[in-house]
Symmetry: C2
Subunit: 442 residues, 2 copies
């Protein structure tokens, strides 16, 4: 029989244990933090009606969608984000769920985009949203969630916050509010291409006059400490109610985060953040890693006025953010923060003597009952081979017990990083793992 060449599709990848273990740790941490604020998990199908996912269509993600006809002749597609399914979900169940509804959703999405370094066609999103309240409390809380998340991960991150009302207010006053999408697209490039190119784009694409361009760029150029920025913004938005309102929200958010005791460095006003989509209407966030800002935002989001208008007449405002799990993992790897472990247990129990198999199994079971993760090597092989296996996998300890040890009731505990060996009693009088042994393996 000829063999089938084992391979994966371009843009897709396997997660080997050394990548999957830190990924699971990240997900666990995110869930713990989300839950501590009262967010609850949901899940939705990977496959949905094409019509539902395509929405009004015409977007970039729309073109990248994997779509086909199923066995029943239905046009179906794989979800390309978790926001559209959330909108459909909340439209279907809003009565049952009750508002406000705070959910997190951690799941894979698929986009048939051109593959680049670090861009995949399948990746995991890790979103949290508060639906059904327009109160600024949820905006403040979103910043606190992001803060707690990175703190729990042991990463120094800066949350860049802006409020779209500032820009929208100025645009309204300049009678450019119909052009906000084009303005946002141009402003998003500011850091990359510089003010001259953006000026050109604002004039040609958004039809702004030179005076208007000056006002728009002045807004995006304000820098300094949070207090300095708030002061400088005041005259720039003074003539627009919407702009003043955005400034008041920004001021209140910064004040609240400070009052809770978050380090001033961690949450910074950054008026250069536009967040492309027209969809956002208030507070917007991006998050950079202090040690690796070049990797871009690892957690972004913002407030929107109406989540599910394609599916329901009920107006559903909300705010949320999405943790870029894969980008964050790539960054942590680059920063050397990912432990190279390839085992789920701390301890390898060496298999010396098959006649003692049940004794080994009993020892392993008692240690697990005491909270120690133990892998028992499945067959008797040379000690050297088994220790090499333990080293490669990254076990912290190996327990060695041959005939002499079983007769004396004491085993050898080897710390693999140092090679140091200590002997310890295996069982206590009641037949449980001996506390001395458990302490050595803690």
């Amino acid at each position: 029989m000829s063999l089938i060449e084992p391979r994966t599709l371009k843009g897709f990848r396997d997660y080997l244990p050394e990548a999957m273990i830190p990924r699971e740790r990240l997900i666990d941490t995110a869930r713990r933090v989300y839950r501590s604020y009262g967010f609850v998990p949901i899940d939705t199908p990977a496959l949905e009606y094409e019509e539902i996912l395509a929405g009004k269509g015409g977007t970039e993600s729309d073109k990248q969608m994997y779509r086909f006809e199923d066995h029943g002749g239905r046009r179906v597609a794989l979800r390309f984000d978790l926001t559209v399914p959330l909108a459909r979900f909340v439209a279907m169940y809003s009565n049952e769920l009750g508002l406000p509804f705070k959910r997190y959703h951690i799941a894979s999405v698929w986009r048939g985009e051109n593959t680049q370094r670090g861009r995949y066609r399948e990746f995991m999103q890790c979103d949290f949203d508060t639906i059904g309240s327009e109160n600024l409390t949820s905006d403040i809380e979103t910043a606190l969630v992001i803060h707690d998340l990175f703190k729990a991960l042991g990463l120094e991150a800066t949350i860049h916050v802006n409020n779209r009302r500032l820009l929208n207010g100025v645009l309204a006053r300049l009678e450019l509010d119909g052009k906000s999408a084009g303005v946002l697209r141009a402003l998003d490039k500011l850091e990359k291409v510089g003010p001259e190119k953006v000026t050109e784009e604002l004039q040609t694409q958004a039809g702004a006059t030179p005076a208007q361009v000056r006002e728009i760029l002045a807004l995006a150029a304000v820098t300094g400490t949070n207090d300095e920025i708030l002061r400088q913004l005041e005259p720039l938005v003074a003539s627009s109610e919407l702009g003043r309102d955005g400034l008041a929200q920004l001021r209140e958010l910064i004040g609240a985060v400070r009052a809770v005791g978050v380090d001033e460095q961690r949450v910074r006003i950054d008026v250069s953040i536009a967040r492309g989509l027209d969809y956002y209407t208030g507070t917007v966030f991006e998050t950079s890693l202090d040690a690796l800002p070049s990797i871009g935002s690892v957690c972004s989001g913002g407030r929107y006025d109406n989540l599910a208008q394609l599916y329901t007449k009920e107006r559903l405002p909300g705010i949320g953010a999405s943790l870029g799990l894969d980008r964050l993992l790539a960054a942590m790897e680059e920063l050397g923060l990912v432990e190279k472990r390839r085992t789920g247990a701390s301890t390898l129990l060496v298999h010396f003597d098959e006649a003692r198999r049940t004794d080994y199994l009993r020892l392993a079971a008692r240690l697990r009952a005491a909270g120690v993760g133990v892998e028992f090597y499945p067959e008797p092989k040379k000690l050297g081979n088994q220790l090499k296996y333990a080293d490669r996998r990254g076990f912290r300890f190996a327990i060695v017990a041959g005939d002499n040890e079983w007769k004396s009731g004491r085993c050898q505990v080897k710390t693999l990083a140092t090679g140091a060996t200590i002997d310890a009693p295996m069982f206590d009088a009641a037949g449980a793992a001996h506390p001395e042994l458990v302490a050595l393996l803690a």
Copy 2:
């Protein structure tokens, strides 16, 4: 604008929080148990080359596969199980992984099958396998993992164990070994259709003589305690080396499990278990819930000789099992074992006075730092509305603090199930959550 009707595809479902919370708990427990034995997580793409997933084709799952052409004109398909991807994965990375390789994989799979009660087109599998050892240690350990898993879930389950060598040995002696697939198919129906129908099928489909049918059915009819079954099997398999070997393995497995201290009731020899697929070659498992055996096996698997023969010449023997997560959840729901909580936090902090927002936020932050999950209601609403929200969501406690409380520094803690209210100080001298308050919310 006309609305798009929000709906899911037939055979697919949304997981609302009350279903998703216990599902996450199940997954967490499974991972904890798998890891404690040294299993490590992997993940593989949902989409693969159709050729890889179809393998040699012609199976039932093959027909049910979702398949289509991607943007690049490749024939692709959604995985229908986690075993084929595992085979492809191990064939690709066996050098890098090193053997033995113990992995778990918890992920969704898709099958376009006819929908029935409790059968979905998207469901989650939760597999663990040990690849690269033929030693019985791994068989014993697989039984112990299943045992620990159900114990950790607080469920009384019985692991039914058999060994395919018993039947294969007898079939070889009867010169029916070429017909084992047909024999297995017939035997799998024994409980459902009774011995007469099975006799008929064995004669017509597998071409067995009446004498042969008697021998086969005699093997499948042995019952009693583990020791009784082992004794009764002895003469039935005596004339076959393979059969004697299977019996010895079964005896050793039962002995080892007993020696480790597992209750004899939990692991039972059941010679009626055939496990349809030709694929299994040694130990096979099924697991039933003592309180709801009718739901069928909730954790099944077995030993195989060669996992990845379609993709590599390297022979990769192994053993594994798959936890039927969705079936188990359905069973737990039927048994009333699923808590109806719809919150990730234990405590709702009532929002009374917007002017105190930062104080509330600080209290919530301090309680979270002390390990208490706290949701802060986003806007000031009537107390009754917020308590109703807390009740519906299943919060255990509500903290009520109005102006008087903030002035006195003490809040009201309401236990929602009883309505009892106790007052407690909010902060300690250092500004942390007061230990008295934390203790009340534990």
